[in-house]
């Protein structure tokens, strides 16, 4: 089964099967779009939670931690309810579009990034903060130097966020619909394609997608890890 799947996977990629390639390409587009938005929200929130003490911080922190365990189908369902025709944002006509998929995935990845960022910055020695302040740093400069010290951990947060978005299926299946429009891929990703092919009994195709997905994740993580460890002595 698996050798066959590997052979199929390589055949599909190297023969340049347009359908397969478009699914791979689209998976990355959705995953990275969601990740980018999640990073823009999650990193600053995590840094804020890790560097400052304010009223209500503990409650906020609990919320972020709880959101790290948000079930994807629930995120998908809520997004679906909001975007459907008589939903709050129904007029925007976003349901079953790539945008809807991104909207559903951001709440899954952002808390993960915020939570890991917060934890890694809190774990830095208090002396760094005191020293930065003692040299005349503003709040922002202090946060910047702390984030810089936790650089590798912040990369880990981003990598975790990518893992969440690329491997996610529940939310994007509900909000995207796994659609081909006019024979062309519209909202189908590798994960939703695996679900479909398995249901149809096309196991070798499902396996091929699974293998491609794993390789894709591996390659992206090799790049991430290189960036994470760059500029260090060892």
């Amino acid at each position: 089964m698996i050798p066959q799947a590997l052979r199929d996977a390589f055949r599909l990629i190297f023969e340049g099967d347009p359908y397969t390639l478009s699914v791979i390409w689209f998976s990355f587009k959705v995953a990275f779009a969601s990740l980018a938005i999640a990073v823009v929200i999650g990193l600053p929130v995590g840094i804020l939670l890790g560097t400052t003490r304010f009223a209500g911080r503990l409650g906020f922190l609990t919320l972020v931690n709880a959101a790290m365990g948000l079930p994807p189908v629930v995120a998908g369902l809520v997004t679906f309810m909001v975007l459907r025709n008589n939903g709050v944002l129904g007029d925007a006509q976003l349901l079953f579009t790539p945008a809807a998929m991104v909207l559903a995935q951001v709440p899954l990845a952002a808390p993960l990034i915020a939570g890991i960022t917060m934890a890694s910055i809190s774990a830095l020695p208090a002396a760094i903060k005191i020293q930065a302040r003692g040299l005349g740093a503003s709040r922002l400069q202090e946060a910047k130097i702390l984030a810089g010290q936790a650089r590798a951990s912040l990369f880990a947060a981003v990598i975790a966020g990518f893992g969440a978005t690329i491997s996610e299926v529940g939310a994007i299946l509900i909000t995207g619909g796994n659609l081909l429009v006019g024979g062309k891929n519209y909202t189908r990703t590798m994960t939703t394609a695996i679900v479909l092919e398995t249901r149809l009994g096309n196991f070798s195709r499902a396996m091929a997608f699974a293998v491609i997905l794993l390789f894709a994740i591996l390659i992206v993580n090799i790049l991430f890890t290189r960036a994470q460890t760059a500029g260090r002595a060892r």
Partner: protein, 358 residues
């Protein structure tokens, strides 16, 4: 003399107990103020309050008479600190040393010049491109120092700046820091637990113990005239003798300590109970009863203990008035005594600091 930095009515409570209570402390331009005390005395806490890194629960910090608060960036930018744990930022030595200037938006070229200057000052010329991960503990601490010096602050805070520095470097570095204070006429606040460092470095000395300010004044004044028993112990006045003034003839007083007669110079009146503080280096010792009558205050005893301190020796003499003497090694060799031998120890009437006993 111009006071640049002042702390007034500083109090901080930690877990409901008052852990710092300093009614007044001040530092002047072009002078080194050393805050000395045992570990855990609250020295570093006091420094963090003065450096506007932490907020006191009560009291305020004044810079040139104007109140300053931790959120007040303009005031904080007049200061630079080198905290005790040399926490360097990841990257090169230069990146660390110029950081204080970079956050002040100083031009890149000037940053480099000042950083090189600061590194030269701490004896690390040419270390600019080294990765901080490759530095030894002592080198890291010197980079930590250079990082604060490069800012050329109006007020410089140093928390135990020489602890991890090699013995051979310590003296020249201490001298460089003094020179820096004079040249830039900044006010330097220097925290240490080390008595020799305090005596050698400071113009002014503040004694802190258990979160309380015991005494602040010019260094020699504090060392020779400690205010209270705790202060006396801190400055290393090993000899503290309880006595009562029996008569005072125009400043030359006769006192009784147990059965022993002592003479000392003081203005305190007859009948006052006092502590007599004598620094160990003011105590002389003889192998036989001294012939010449001055000093008047001498007592026969037994050499109880000999503590070698390298170039000097501390002798503990048990007798009518127990005394600790600090003499040089050659003097000790000449004396030719060992523990258990009879010995005579004494001090001049003018070497006694008389302190009212409360």
């Amino acid at each position: 003399m111009s006071i640049l930095l002042e702390g007034a009515g500083l109090r901080r409570t930690y877990r409901r107990t008052l852990d710092l209570d300093v009614p007044r402390i001040s530092a002047q331009r072009g002078r080194v103020l050393v805050i000395m005390g045992p570990s855990g005395a609250g020295k570093s806490t006091l420094l963090r309050l003065l450096a506007l890194v932490e907020k006191p629960d009560q009291g305020q910090i004044l810079i040139a008479g104007q109140p300053a608060k931790p959120h007040d960036l303009k005031s904080r930018r007049k200061m630079a600190s080198a905290m005790q744990t040399a926490t360097l930022f990841r990257g090169t030595v230069l990146r660390n040393v110029e950081w204080g200037l970079a956050i002040r938006r100083v031009h890149k070229r000037l940053r480099l010049i000042r950083s090189e200057e600061a590194l030269a000052l701490v004896g690390l010329d040419g270390f600019e491109s080294r990765d901080v991960a490759e530095l030894s503990g002592g080198e890291a601490q010197r980079v930590n120092l250079a990082r604060a010096l490069a800012v050329q602050p109006e007020i410089l805070f140093l928390d135990e700046p020489l602890v991890y520095v090699d013995e051979t470097m310590r003296e020249s570095l201490a001298l460089a820091l003094r020179k820096f204070t004079l040249r830039t006429s900044c006010a330097t606040v220097w925290v240490t637990h080390d008595r020799a460092e305090a005596l050698g470095m400071s113009d002014d000395l503040a004694l802190v113990s258990d979160g309380r300010m015991l005494q602040q004044g010019e260094t020699m004044e504090v060392f020779t005239k400690p205010d209270g028993l705790q202060a006396a112990r801190l400055v290393g006045a090993d000899n503290v003798i309880a006595a009562t003034i029996t008569s005072n003839d125009d400043g030359l007083a006769k006192l009784k300590a147990g059965d022993a007669d002592i003479e000392a110079t003081t203005d305190l009146a007859e009948g006052t109970t006092v502590y007599l503080v004598v620094r160990p280096e003011e105590v002389s010792v003889w192998g036989a009863a001294p012939q010449d009558s001055s000093p008047r205050n001498w007592f026969k005893g037994v050499l109880a203990e000999v503590i070698s301190l390298g170039a000097t020796v501390k002798l503990r003499v048990d007798g009518e008035v127990p005394l600790v003497a600090l003499i040089t090694q050659p003097t000790f060799r000449e004396l030719g005594v060992t523990a258990g031998d009879p010995i005579w120890a004494g001090f001049k009437a003018t070497a006694v600091h008389v302190m009212r006993r409360s």
